[in-house]
């Protein structure tokens, strides 16, 4: 057992599950989507990104790329939400943008996890 693998696997999968938890539910209903879940997703995603730094293999680079995509989408979602709250009132139409951005991040996270699992399965030890 490789403790580094456990920790990085934990964060990569946690990023996916949290992201899924935030996205699930009607896309335009604010009550279905918790802001804390979004924050947790961003934090865990950032940690997952850092965990992937410094891996010089081919899959390592692709993993890092997917992580960057997820970070970008999630931070964009959070920024939209924050800016709307500061400047006007949140409407279902605007909220759709937030959730759809987070859904995009979810796709990146799914790719990331499947790559991670796939690479692990390929190892014969």
């Amino acid at each position: 057992m490789n403790s580094e693998k456990v920790i990085s696997g934990f964060f990569i999968i946690l990023a996916l599950t949290l992201n899924f938890g935030f996205v699930v539910g009607d896309i335009d209903v604010i009550e279905y989507h918790s802001v804390y879940e979004l924050v947790a997703t961003i934090v865990v995603n950032l940690i997952a990104t850092i965990m992937k730094l410094g891996d010089k293999t081919q899959t390592g680079s692709v993993l890092l790329a997917t992580s960057f995509v997820a970070d970008l989408q999630l931070i964009a979602a959070a920024s939209v939400w924050g800016i709307v709250n500061m400047t006007s009132v949140m409407t279902p139409e605007l909220f759709t943008i937030v959730v759809s951005l987070a859904t995009g991040a979810l796709v990146a996270n799914i790719i990331s996890v499947s790559l991670f699992v796939g690479e692990t399965l390929l190892l014969k030890r």
């Binding site: 802001v35 924050v39 934090v43 850092i50 730094l53 410094g54 891996d55 010089k56 924050g82």
Partner: protein
């Protein structure tokens, strides 16, 4: 690989500090939004995520703008306590590890290596790799940079030497690397596999190292020309066997020159001139034909002995090296025993300048009329030897540098030497006097090609009009003055070499010219061969009609 992996290592080492920093920000932010603030207009105010992030950001970096947007409630202040005691150390930790990593030697080396690689990759000109920075390579670099046909890259394992190189201001600049030149990785980094890399020169004093570098260079690039310096016996054969194109064999060069001197002072003088000296036969070029005493240990002595045997000259060989006690070679008896009183020449050829000095002083003391030849190992001591009025000084580093330079920038000098070596004494004298009469006693030796880079106009002109050497050099401006140029050799594109071509020799595209000249004449020559109308005037004796006036119908 070593250097690349240290950058990955750097990133990996930054993981923990970055995660700590991330968590130290995230947790206080979440807590701050959860904790109730003070009541404003009957309602408890909670901090928004933006406010919380803003607050944590300026608290963590110890900027501290205060409690905004409202004064904090006590539960909030408890959270702020936790914030301060976690985020501020987290920042210091992250910054500290970053700075520590940046100062790590392996990391700095990796950065330098990457810079070097980038500089080499960006060279847009053909270039030469020089391994080892010493007196010889310094001189070689100066010579090559003057001609500016190639850019230069230098590798040396000694950081002091590279720093010394960096303090010299070379134009164009020289990318340098502190690394072991005998490793494949270093050679690859210095661009040996690039198609623009034309030559590699190894000038280390250590033959083993030269051999190592040459083998690797030959394996990494089959087309590159390798020049390698050889100092010990059998070294040059070894080097040739592994595919070195030109062995810079100093002792062989010196021996050839002494051999030439015994045959004809004019040949000797021409050789010295090609290899960096003056063109003027003086008394010190006439080697005496009497008995020789060679003081040298090792290969130099043996090479000289062969030469003297060939020329039937009596020669006593004294094997002096550091093993023999100092008393011996400053002892008059030692030299008298060797027959110095009736000798005519002494060669002080040990690899230690101090010993050489002592030999000269002692020998002169016994026989003041001796002709003295000395081998100089460290160029700084030049003044010392000339002070002793030695007749001939062979500076090893200078000979090595000029030989390498000749091979790279003036390869025709080798054809020329080969050609004149068969000349009779009288013909040699005429050749030499012809040069000194037409040019001067310190002419520059230049090799130029008729191509679009160096002779733009002439290169086009010879395609439609036959041009001979005489047309260019004799009375080009119709004012009765010839250019101070003596053409020593002409090499056709197909490889045919014409020694001392006469003025009726025609020129073709791709020909190479070797000539002796002065600076002003060279400038004038360059002007002629590069400017079309100038060249037209020189050849036809009148200006070319560029347009016809309408009323003057031709």
């Amino acid at each position: 690989m070593n250097n690349e992996s240290s950058i990955w290592l750097f990133l990996r080492k930054m993981r923990t500090p970055l995660i700590v920093l991330n968590l130290a920000h995230a947790i206080p932010v979440i807590l701050l939004t959860l904790v109730p603030g003070i009541e404003v207009e009957g309602k408890t105010v909670y901090m928004s995520f933006f406010d919380a992030m803003y607050f944590v950001a300026y608290t963590a970096t110890t900027i501290g703008f205060g409690e905004i947007p409202y004064a904090f409630s006590y539960p909030q202040r408890i959270v702020v306590f936790i914030t301060i005691y976690t985020t501020v150390p987290a920042w210091f930790y992250a910054l500290g590890s970053l700075i520590a990593l940046l100062q790590e030697k392996t990391f700095i080396n990796a950065i330098k290596m990457n810079n070097f690689r980038r500089k080499v990759r960006r060279l847009r000109q053909d270039f030469i790799i020089i391994c080892g920075y010493n007196h010889a390579s310094k001189l070689l670099i100066e010579k090559l940079n003057q001609d500016n046909l190639y850019r230069i890259v230098v590798i040396d394992i000694n950081s002091e030497k590279i720093e010394q190189l960096d303090t010299e201001i070379y134009m164009p600049s020289i990318p340098s690397l502190i690394a072991d030149a005998s490793t494949t990785n270093t050679l690859k980094a210095s661009g040996i596999q690039s198609p623009r890399c034309k030559y590699i020169v190894t000038l280390f004093d250590d033959d083993q190292l030269n051999l190592k570098v040459s083998i690797r260079a030959r394996i990494l690039n089959e087309n590159i020309q390798i020049l390698s310096r050889s100092n010990v016996h059998h070294g040059s054969e070894n080097l040739t066997n592994i595919g070195v194109d030109h062995v810079i064999d100093i002792f062989d060069i010196i021996a050839r020159r002494i051999d030439a001197a015994l045959r004809s002072p004019y040949l000797f003088n021409l050789l010295s001139w090609i290899q960096g000296g003056n063109l003027n036969v003086s008394k010190s070029d006439m080697l005496p034909m009497g008995k020789y005493i060679v003081c040298s240990g090792g290969r130099f002595g043996k090479t000289l002995q062969r030469i003297f045997e060939k020329n039937n000259i009596e020669c006593t060989y004294l094997d002096i090296n550091k093993g023999i006690s100092e008393k011996n070679f400053s002892d008059k008896e030692f030299f008298i025993e060797a027959g110095i009183q009736n000798a005519s020449c002494i060669i002080a050829g040990t690899n230690d300048d101090a010993i050489n000095l002592s030999i000269i002083a002692t020998a002169r003391g016994i026989n003041p009329a001796l002709f003295v030849i000395v081998r100089e190992n460290e160029p700084e001591e030049r003044s010392l030897f000339s002070h002793l009025r030695t007749d001939k000084i062979f500076v090893l580093d200078q000979i090595a540098a000029i030989d390498g330079y000749n091979y790279i920038d003036r390869p025709m000098t080798f054809n020329f030497i080969e050609g004149i070596e068969h000349f009779e004494n009288e013909k040699l004298m005429n050749t030499l006097l012809n040069i000194t009469d037409k040019v001067n006693k310190r002419p520059a030796l230049i090799e130029m090609a008729i191509d679009k880079n160096t002779m733009y106009a002439l290169n086009q002109f010879v395609q439609h009009t036959p041009v001979t050497l005489g047309q260019l050099l004799n009375n080009p401006y119709r004012n009765g003055q010839n250019l101070e140029i003596v053409i020593l050799g002409l090499k056709r594109k197909q490889g045919e070499f014409i020694l001392l071509p006469d003025e009726h020799t025609s020129l073709h595209q791709g020909d190479h010219l070797l000539f002796a000249t002065t600076k002003p004449s060279l400038d004038r020559f360059k002007t002629i061969v590069n400017h079309y109308y100038e060249l037209y005037y020189v050849i036809h004796g009148k200006e070319e009609k560029r347009f016809t006036l309408p009323w003057k119908k031709a």
